[in-house]
Amino acid sequence: MTRETTAYRSVNENPCNMCMPMGGILPFKGIEEAMVIIHGSQGCSTYMRRHIAEHYNEPIDVGSSSINEKGTIYGGAQNLFQALDNIRKVYQPRLIGILTSCLAETIGEDVEGITRFYLKQRDLEGISLIAVSTPGYGGTHSEGYWLAVKKIVAGLAENTEKHDGINVIVPNLSPADIREIKRILKLMGVRYTLLPDISDTLDRPIARPYTKIPPGGTSIESIRRMPGAVATVQFGVTVEEKLSPGHYLQTEFGVPLYNLPVPMGVEATDSLINLLAQLSGNNAPQSLNMERGRLLDCMVDSHKYNAQGCGAVFGDPELVYAAARTCAENGLYPAVVATGSGTANLEKMLGPVLADSPQQARLLKETDFTQIREACRETGVNIAIGHSDGKFLTEKEGIPLVRLGFPIHDQVGGQRLLSVGYTGTTMFLDRVTNTILEHKHKNYRAVMYRKFYRKTISERTALKR
């Protein structure tokens, strides 16, 4: 595995990540009766809402403190106050997340202080305000996501009595993935608090009447009680300690942390099931064994095609790790593994996964698609796995793209893409295998003829001359 970043260049050409506050919005969308405000220019919230809406096909209401030129001089506290007042009046949320963007951070707004002051001044009860400092230059959306989750936990967690539930902390997965994880938790007979739970809020059924805040999400009460849990299961092996909600619960409240990879692939899903069995004392039901057996059956049937794949996996570090590992497990060699994030853990975790690869894989951190494209070309990648921005690889290099992650804006159903658990992995693999097959069929005859036959004709002619 070779490690590369784009740091040697000054230009980021076609980015592979978004900014920190964008990532911070998502967890708040997974809390019951919550709203979120971005403290900064109004354009930030508009741009991010647009991108989130495009992926989930849902209304995404995010407030803005709409700081303008005057605010850059006198500070934005007044704007934020007004924003909080208005959001409270119209949405009546029980929790408001306040994220900062570049502007507020650059002018040095103390958003936590302002928030405290607001609470005190308005003398509010029954509403929680969670401020998260997320400057656009402070990290990618992945870091923003994890920091927001951590701040939510830190802001709400209380010293409560021990109970028999477990905490389940998830990275940015699709609502369908979250539903699948919840189904597995239920099958394993465990009581849990899953945070953040976007499964209903960001994949909302048509239902009447329309409500401004979608029903669903993790309840505030259950988050408060997380410190009393038996354990925390966090799908966050690439998350740095300082951003890790599970680590926080462990160090602050002594809740044992089990940091697992996203349950994608046989091994990772096995790990989750084993852990849940151990924590709950329950065995996996036969239906889960059947699902595992079907996944294995799928893997056996498809391994010949997958082994011909040379993959590029890109996106958020946590999902990239899970997908690269699933590819490797299936003999689909991940030649390029790339993320816009700079997390050091990805590298550490990927090492063993890529150890058996037929040739050195390239790990690109803090990367852009121009670098990814070059790496794909150099390693002979023939299948890409990641979010829609990778369609560039299809358009320019003819590498087909299996969509996974966020954002998916050129196809429908990104919110319904199921890729975790035994069954989700099977679906993911079928998508990958069929993409390989389709690409192969499309090119097979031409390639075959060119490589093994046509060439000869000219050679023959040459010989006969």
Partner: protein, 545 residues
Amino acid sequence: MAINEKMLEEILNKYPAKVKRNRKKHILIRDSAQEIQEIEANTRTIPGIITNRGCAFAGCKGVVLGPLKDMVHIVHGPIGCAYYSWLTRRNKARADEPKQNFLAYCVSTDMQESDIVFGGEKKLARMIDEVVEIFKPNAITISATCPVGLIGDDIQAVARAARAKHGLNITAYSCEGYKGVSQSAGHHIANNGLMENIIGEGDWEEPPSKYTINILGEYNIGGDSWEVERILNEIGYEIQVVMTGNGSYEKLKNAHVAQLNLVQCHRSINYIATMLETKYGTPWLKVNFIGIRATIETLRNMARYFGDEALIKRTEEVIEKELAEIEPQLEPYRKICANKTAFCFVGGSRGHHYQGLYEELGVTTVLAGYEFAHRDDYEGRDILPNIKADADSKNIPDLHVAPDERRYRLKIPVERMEELKQDIPLNNYKGMIDDMADGSIVVDDLNHYETEEFIKIFKPDIFSSGIKDKYIPQKMGIPTKQLHNYDYSGPYAGFRGAVNFARDIAMGFATPTWNFIVPPWKDQPLLEGTIENCTANTCVEEVAT
């Protein structure tokens, strides 16, 4: 269903008092009996109100500069804004030289914390060098995002130095997101920059053909400008440059030779239009290529301006031919669209432009508005002298241009000009309100809360707006039509575009999907039953939860 002041009041009662006062001035019920109906526009967005407005950066880089295809548009700032303005406007372009089309590229300095602390000028300068080397573009723009102005990076100086170093047109735009009150500020900044640095840089002195025109405020969303160009070419016009859809630096720099400037989107580009007249004597004509009647009127107005009999004849021939082609195609769609109602809330001009096309298809616009327009876009340019510049507007100074001594030419005699002005919108735009039917609603800067409330009252058959708000009506069982990006469809301009639009909205009405989602009011008198009998406040809450 119609709306009255009382109902409007009830909607606004949900707001805190101060907000209510503010929003009230941005909403009016059209009443032609009143000689003047004033509306407030282009003022600060209220914090915490879920607006659809963007920022100056979005208006400058995202809208005006972005579509220029042979230039690399550098975003100086942290990665987010560069990412968010990457390929999101669907302004299409096809370069004559395939390698000189950079629209698919997002190029950013990706500022990090250390750049914020120590300044990003050096990084920007290095980056320009790299961009010149990698892309070899015809020109480069640099757009600033929020932190740049705040930390005091002098991007103008960096641009000047780079321009000198590389001998390339490299210009900087201080369009930080906090400038002004919406993307409108960014349009103005971009207009100033293009006028000051690019238009007129070319060495042409004469137009390449008799009927040389520029098209301003056309961004080729979904291929609109290709359809417009097709029609104009067929009549015999020579299009020097489209600003800025499918446009290029190479064409733009000689834009000064045109004999007439067409203005499609008044809001985003009227600055250049007026400056071109001042500097080169080129009049501008407000046009509208959305809708069949509007297109025909536009074509006739253009012919009238040039006043050439052959051109007038050719114009009528083309109109006749085009109509013969599209009328039979429109017929089935018209049947589906008849007697429907629409909301039309879009940007700076489309909110007005699409009403005519809707009407031709049998769809009445019952609510319309703009995200970021100014009062003149609602009330007409006659109002301009009455608009007081506030602090936010003053932040974007007007660029002062004077007649170009060498190149200024009166394109037509002053008397004829005055005469024409009586009949055609030469150097004039009369705004949206005038075209609206009595009882319809005009809303400036519509937000999510109001969207929901107005839908409950009007129960429109289609909601046309953008992606951020479209999911609200859809969840309520109402078809939508994105008029920012056309839902990956288009073109909608001109004759053939009208057919596309008709097809697309007809399919929205006709799809059986809606049968399975009976909107609440269709089988439960949810709103009608309660609104009369409750205080406004509890009533709204009842609906909302």
